[in-house]
């Protein structure tokens, strides 16, 4: 009953045999061994599995691999380039936007799409924009800062201070 699919992941084409019910997240993690995409729930609630499918952020735990046939998938592993880290990756590191790192790849991929639609989001817009991604560690303040940092950098403006506002 297996079905052949072809997906392009981070620009590389893969032809794979999958079961029709196989989830995209399992194919990414277990067949392609790109383990940066995580699984945090079974109800499409946490966003740890967020990747881009044809440029749109989706929860890969709720998409069948066969639905991705012929499409382009981007995961956290494809964010950095030969030139260096993606501004979002840099933003997260510079602003302490992560603790355990488990939610981070999903947050990053969600934020990529967020900034594509809105290159200068307000704090409120960022908070609503990442509301589908849970983080249990950071309390979100620094994730917001990290995304603001990246958005400034991507607009070619000076990045805000990364010093903690710890009076």
């Amino acid at each position: 009953m297996k079905k052949q699919i072809t997906i392009s992941v981070n620009g590389e084409k893969h032809t794979l045999e999958v079961e029709p019910r196989e989830l995209l997240v399992h194919v990414i993690r277990e067949k392609l061994r790109l383990t940066g995409t995580h699984i945090g729930c079974d109800t499409t609630s946490c966003g740890a599995c967020t990747v881009l499918l044809n440029g749109k952020s989706i929860k890969s735990c709720t998409v069948l691999a066969i639905q991705a046939d012929g499409k382009e998938v981007s995961t956290v592993e494809g964010l950095a380039t030969a030139e260096g880290l993606h501004p979002l990756q840099e933003g997260f590191k510079e602003n302490h936007g992560l603790h355990c790192g488990f939610c981070t790849p999903g947050m990053l991929m969600r934020a990529v799409e967020l900034l594509e639609h809105n290159d200068n989001p307000t704090e409120e817009e960022i908070r609503w924009g990442i509301a589908g991604n849970l983080c249990r560690c950071t309390g979100y303040n620094n994730i917001v800062k990290a995304i603001q940092y990246a958005s400034a950098k991507m607009r070619g403006e000076e990045t805000p201070s990364t010093e903690p506002e710890f009076v």
Partner: protein
Amino acid sequence: MGHSLKRKEDARFIQGKGHYVDDIQLPGMLHMDIVRSPYAYAKIKSINAEEALKIPGVIAVVTGKDLEKYNLHWMPTLMSDTQMVLPTDTVMYQAQEVAAVIATDRYAARDGKEAVMVEYEPMKPVIDPYKSLDPDAPVLRTDKEGKKDNHIWHWEVGDKEATEKLFNEAEVVVKEQMHIPRIHVSSIETCGCVADYDKINNHLTMYMTTQAPHAIRTVIALVAGHVGLTEEKVRVVSPDIGGGFGGKVPVYPGYVIAIAVSFLVGKPVKWVEDRSENLQADSFARDYHITAEMAGTKDGKILGTRFKILADHGYTDAAANPSKFPTGMFSIGTGSYDYQTTFMEADAVYTNKPPGGVAYRCSFRVTEAVHAIERITDRFALEIGKDPAQLRMENFIKKEDFPWKSPTGWEYDSGDYHAGLKKAMEVVGYDELRKEQAEKRKRGELMGIGISTFTEIVGAGPSKDFDILGIKMFDSAEIRVHPTGKAIARFGTKSQGQGHETTYAQIIAEELGIPAEHIQVEEGDTDTAPYGLGTYASRSTPTAGAAAAVAARKLRDKARKIAAYLLEVSEDDLEWEPGKFFVKGAPEKSKTIQEIVFAAYTNHPQGMEAGFEATHYYDPPNLTFPSGAYICVVDVDKDTGEIKVRRFVAIDDCGNIINPMIVQGQVHGGLTQGIAPAMYEELVYDEDGNILNGTFMDYLVPTAVESPSWETGHTVTPSPHHPIGAKGVGESPTVGAPPAIANAIVDALAPYGITHLDIPITPYKVWKALREKGAN
């Protein structure tokens, strides 16, 4: 010290190169899934695996009867109670493990799980902990010979008679009944393991999500030593952990079954629970019913407190407390206030709910204690009509009175509570807010200001009092400096996101003058790291952090000897500045730490041991007592009950700060885990023991939208006994935030005569309380 060094560990996490348990894929690895009980209390009449075994890929179904043959169907809990690995005849809570399906891939394992047929005979469960003590309640633990009721233990501390007398004679007595709800740590990574038993070498490697790998190795050896898995044959590896918060301290049945199966079939077995299993079956936290009372004078002097607790432990006492302390550190509940009369007592009971009582970002029941004292203090202020900030200022233990002996026997090491609250009031603009509130009240609008000024107790702990299953709660550091002056340091703790790779490197850098970038920190592999009891209860900095400082100082002593030899002067003629020794009065004559280390391998003084490494096991002389002053401002919508947290200011005092960025990050995260039980989270059961919100769809972990923009700050009162004056911070915000929020909401509702609401305080609870008090 005091430098916001960016984290060394981040490079891998932001590029998808973290290495978590579920990322492990070994050749020939089998997958395990677990059949769970739909009933809270039932006899198992039969388990039929026939259909399951027909599914391609399913290779075995393991039941309690199978484990019984090896005497592995029960295991000890950390509190010396017993817990089923798999049941042989009775299930005690909904979602309890009933059988395990082993298959060649995860889909087949899940199919197998659906196909196992279990016949149950449901019984009437005991859900309400108060009813569990009724004389006609069924005795749940019939496995315990002679057990005639559901009572587990009684605990008390303080002076009962003096407290009674005080309460009988006091001018003012206030009392509230509180429930600190059953909640769940909900780290975004669930629990799991890969058990890899190598038959030929009789060796087990256990990759697992554990905060305490060394303790786990010892437990495995104690439980499975009789089948040949003695301690030198067991290696526990805790790779990157996706959040722990206390939930990854216990040993869950899934781990034991995976080990047993791997041992029997000689292949690696992976078990990773899904989120719903994690919420429904893994250890809960809190669930204390507390009657809190405070006695005082009409003009606002606190004279005494009394707390009576009923602790719902589920069907076994699987809490994670140090052995001597069944209620953990609840006795810190006299708080930050200067009085000497208290009495506290607790009774624990069995019910048909999952076991647990883990120290969720909390030094063992401190959260419960702080909620009780901070809520009842506000209640007292309300009763006598005094401003709650003023009342606290008048009752705080004074800075000069430290070290301070608490009426329950603790010696608070240091603190400056007045400074903390003063700063919090300034930052939030307290006086202005009170004015605004008065005006709003005139207009009938609801606004509340809530304070929590808590004292924490962390860093368990001194060996004279602290052990888990007999193992003393020290922790350790081992530092090896290579010939070129670069180091590797290993620890008995295990980070789950706290940033140990950075902060430990900073501590060593500070003491030894080697740049933090040149110090690689490793934890979590019992084959290489020195023994320690792990990371929880904010103990890493107080114990392993201290061990790092002491081990580094041992190395500095050795460095001084080598420097004296190299410079041909006596040791007393040398002075240290970070990174080098120089001759007093002749600073041009010096040796850098790198030169000294190189000499330790190439030209060490005769008679001295070569090499440059040191280990230290740090047994703290006392606990540390961080504190905080938190102020929360809320606006409540009278018509809908909706609560908006407008401001939240948190001023923490965790002693000397190693990395302000990381401390602040810990505070942010802890505050969000504080607002969670205050307003959103609670595991709810119906009277049949069905969990009503056992998934992330309805167990409400706050998102970035619910989480306010936190305002943080600090005061510094160093710990006098810690080698670098640090105190630990991870749990302070989780402990301190809920009462600040609850106090703010109750303050908003005070005009309606509302004096208390149990957390989580939801819009519906507020709306209902307002309606009951006549709002329309």
